[in-house]
Symmetry: C2
């Protein structure tokens, strides 16, 4: 069963800043390079009921593809070099059809 | 621009209970009856990084359709008669393409 992996987040950068754009575009480039990542999307979170402002979303065909992504050096490197220093707050959710 | 309206939630009911199924199916029936609701989906939230366990997701063509949904008596009635007594915790997010 396919799994939609999502993370909603807020950056340390000013909204509209070059640093914000750089983070989002680097995330798109790096994460879509990882085998098994499909339907990658960058969305803005616009509900005033949350103070998180971005979402990355991707779909894995199965748990094995998801596990391989988590362990992939490009993912681990992105988390260490970009995510941890540049993300102020986040929440992950994974969805499967009910 | 289309808007994906989502809510991730946990019920007061036992997982696997008839009351849980009844809530989810009533939500599907009532909410999909409201004009402007498209691509309605019920998903299970399976990441252990959140204690919320369900998601309702729907797409509105524009803000006017979203506003009409919020004000629609079927939506207001569902919130009052089912959501408030049966939902233990929830978080809304709305997404637009970046």
């Amino acid at each position: 069963m396919s799994i939609q992996h999502t993370v909603v987040f807020r950056l340390v950068h000013e909204p509209g800043s070059a640093a914000e754009t750089a983070f989002v575009e680097n995330g798109r480039t790096v994460l879509t390079s990882i085998p098994g990542v499909t339907d990658f999307a960058v969305n803005r979170q616009v509900s005033p009921k949350s103070d998180l402002t971005w979402q990355f979303s991707m779909v894995f065909a199965d748990q094995a593809a998801y596990d391989a992504y988590n362990a992939h050096p490009a993912h681990v490197g992105f988390v260490e070099t970009r995510w941890k220093p540049e993300v102020a707050a986040f929440q992950e959710y994974d969805f499967v059809a009910a």
